[in-house]
């Protein structure tokens, strides 16, 4: 009889334990991008949904609220979204801050209100967040530098067309690129590295034309640290007949135009971030933290080097053409 009672108590306890675990394992996570129309953010959204489906499959109920600022690139609007979710007491917030300073106070308040925050994509001048999930841009630049060294066989003249003044992510890429060339390939000469393309495709195109006008006869390789200058520089190279591999062109990010340019042989390599993994890891890291597991303060979502040779491999294909249909209706 006592034994039977013991069993009963044990069974009862384990059911209770199971119930409480099941009860606690339900999270609402607000994912806040910088905007919602750009393809990059769609990939992050898809990654967040992927995480949600996997976690739900494992018995953890996760609800994702995907919400960008009402006006894209409006810092005040993004602050409002963070505050409103803080008041809503979501389980956690995954945030891509529009500004490294303006979002510090709202994140501080959210943490005071016991809503943990995972930061993704861009850094925040704070150390209160759970984790920073983003591309290691310096590494991405190094990867591009290595490839440039290989393509040129260790010697030649290289142009670096910078993006914009004060853009931290692209500056890290530019530094990574230059450091590798200077350190490992002493016979490669950087003939221009002080020009900025500017934020629009038009300004990038004009700058590219001006640089090529000056250095077009001696240049062997070009690196551009993000999408607008990559597309513009490739176009400028094509204009003067230096595309198609005569000048080795390495770009960053996989916009659909750049991928097309690579198919046509005008781009030799693209360093590509993994926004889908960023969205995925943003959500899973938040859930891990909520479960009380320890998480890394800095999570690198990696950069892949895409070349004409590997661009048809399935893994790379997922990077170039994110499977939106599978995750976003």
């Amino acid at each position: 009889m006592p034994k039977f009672l013991q069993h009963l108590v044990l069974v009862g306890l384990s059911i209770a334990a199971l119930l409480t675990v099941r009860g606690a394992e339900s999270y609402t996570i607000a994912v806040i991008p910088k905007g919602t129309t750009h393809e990059f953010w769609k990939s992050i959204h898809a990654g967040a949904i992927k995480a949600q489906r996997e976690l739900t499959g494992q018995g953890t109920k996760v609800e994702i609220i995907w919400k960008g600022p009402l006006r894209e690139d409006d810092r005040d609007q993004q602050i409002q979204v963070v505050e409103n979710f803080m008041a809503r007491h979501v389980s956690a917030i995954v945030l891509a801050p529009l500004d490294s300073q303006a979002l510090v106070n709202p994140v501080h308040n959210a943490i005071l209100a016991k809503v943990p925050v995972v930061v993704m994509d861009s850094d925040l001048k704070s150390d209160e967040y759970v984790s920073f999930v983003a591309t290691d841009n310096y590494k991405g630049g190094q990867l591009a530098g290595e490839q440039m060294g290989k393509l040129l066989g260790g010697k030649g003249n290289v142009i670096l067309l910078r993006y914009a003044v004060g853009s931290a992510s692209t500056e890290a890429r530019e530094n990574g690129f230059l450091d590798v060339l200077k350190g490992k390939y002493p016979n490669i000469k950087i003939i221009s590295s002080d020009q900025h393309a500017g934020a629009t495709r038009e300004s990038a195109y004009q700058t590219s034309q001006n640089i090529l006008n000056r250095f077009g006869r001696e240049v062997n390789g070009v690196f551009c640290p993000c999408e607008p200058p990559t597309i513009a520089m490739t176009k400028a190279l094509r204009d003067i007949g230096l595309a198609g591999g005569k000048v080795k062109m390495i770009g960053f990010d996989a916009g659909s135009q750049s991928v097309l340019d690579m198919k046509n042989g005008d781009v030799q390599a693209l360093a590509v971030q993994n926004p889908m993994l960023m969205g995925y890891l943003g959500v899973t890291t938040a859930v891990k933290h909520l479960r009380g597991e320890k998480v890394e303060k800095r999570i690198d979502t990696g950069v892949a080097l895409v070349t004409p040779e590997n661009m048809n491999e399935p893994e790379i294909k997922d990077l170039l053409y994110p499977p939106f249909d599978k995750y976003l209706k």
Binding site: R75, D76, R88, H89, N105, L112
Partner: protein, 319 residues
């Protein structure tokens, strides 16, 4: 004779109030959102988020009642926030930086007023031009980049949320709005300046014929309005802790919408500070609520648009 006017006035005031209650009721219907939405902490957030628009509506109500419009508000807010941040970076004391911020706002208002009053030009066109001038100047002064302002408690605390889990204490900015709203309501109703504003808006020619110096009054109206927009810029600086030349794009439309929801007519002559404040609150509640409901952004835009049209339709009905 008095009865219909009393009931009409009552309706004018109660109309926007009714709208506010309706909107709050709408979001309270959802059982998942209600426990968070109807809390002191959340209303503190809503009030804080209303501050910038509310200060803007103080100036805009005056301008709209006088039969004018000011489209340059968003740009002026951005410019003054940049001016404030730059003054702080250059090492001026916070009070001097606040003075510069307000002075630039009032200065732009003065220019608007002088051109509108002096050259008798359409406010729509003049302030549309100023919208570009102020935005461009903000980008020029800041080198098209945000200007991080050094830590300045006096300014930072204006909009900083402390104790995010409780209703009180309010950020100082909320109290400033309450105080200024009372002052402006009195100015509009009890002072000669205020009555002139209504007279000009109702019938400019009649106002002129009865001896009001209409052009001078217009200069005054736009200058005081600009002062409020400069104050809104100061609040923007406090909230972002930086001066942002691209901030507040389209803010003037939110402000105009709040004034119109509050019962003012774009043809001038009617409107009230209380109504405009409630209008500003309605917009903030709508935004807060639809965030918390998880409604997509496009839904919010559509709903706010519908509310504006609805408010104006209501306005037509009660005339």
């Amino acid at each position: 004779m008095t009865n219909p006017t009393v009931s009409r006035r009552l309706f004018n005031i109660l109309g926007p109030f009714f709208g506010l209650v309706l909107v709050i009721g709408l979001f309270s219907l959802s059982p998942t959102v209600r426990p968070y939405f109807l809390t002191g902490a959340n209303f503190k957030i809503i009030l804080t988020q209303t501050v910038i628009v509310a200060i803007g509506t103080l100036g805009m109500t005056m301008i709209i009642v006088s039969g004018g419009i000011d489209l340059s508000v968003g740009s002026v807010v951005a410019l003054t926030s940049v001016v404030g941040a730059i003054s702080l970076v250059k090492g001026f004391s916070p009070l001097v930086a606040i003075f510069f911020t307000l002075a630039v706002g009032a200065g732009i208002g003065l220019i608007n007023g002088l051109v509108i009053g002096g050259l008798r030009m359409m406010p729509f066109i003049v302030t549309l031009g100023m919208m570009g001038v102020a935005r461009g100047t903000a980008k020029w002064l800041s080198g098209s980049q945000t200007v991080d302002s050094p830590k300045t408690p006096i300014i930072d605390n204006l909009m900083a949320l402390s104790e995010p889990t409780r209703l009180f204490p309010f950020p100082r900015g909320v109290w400033i709005v309450v105080g200024l709203a009372i002052v402006m309501a009195l100015v509009m109703r009890e002072t000669v300046f205020g009555r002139y504003i209504f007279a000009i808006g109702a019938n400019e020619a009649a106002a002129r014929l009865s001896g009001i110096r209409v052009q001078l009054q217009k200069v005054l109206i736009y200058t005081v309005g600009g002062l409020f927009f400069g104050l809104a810029g100061l609040m923007q600086l406090s909230r972002l802790t930086l001066g942002d030349p691209t901030a507040a794009i389209g803010l003037e439309l939110d402000i105009i919408a709040a004034v119109v929801i509050g019962g003012a007519s774009l043809s001038g002559g009617t409107g009230s500070i209380l109504g405009s404040m409630i209008g500003a609150l309605i917009m903030a509640v709508l935004r807060n609520g639809s965030n918390q409901m998880g409604w997509p952004t496009y839904m919010q835009e559509i709903i706010i648009g519908v509310v504006i049209i609805f408010a104006v339709a209501l306005d037509k009905l009660r005339r």
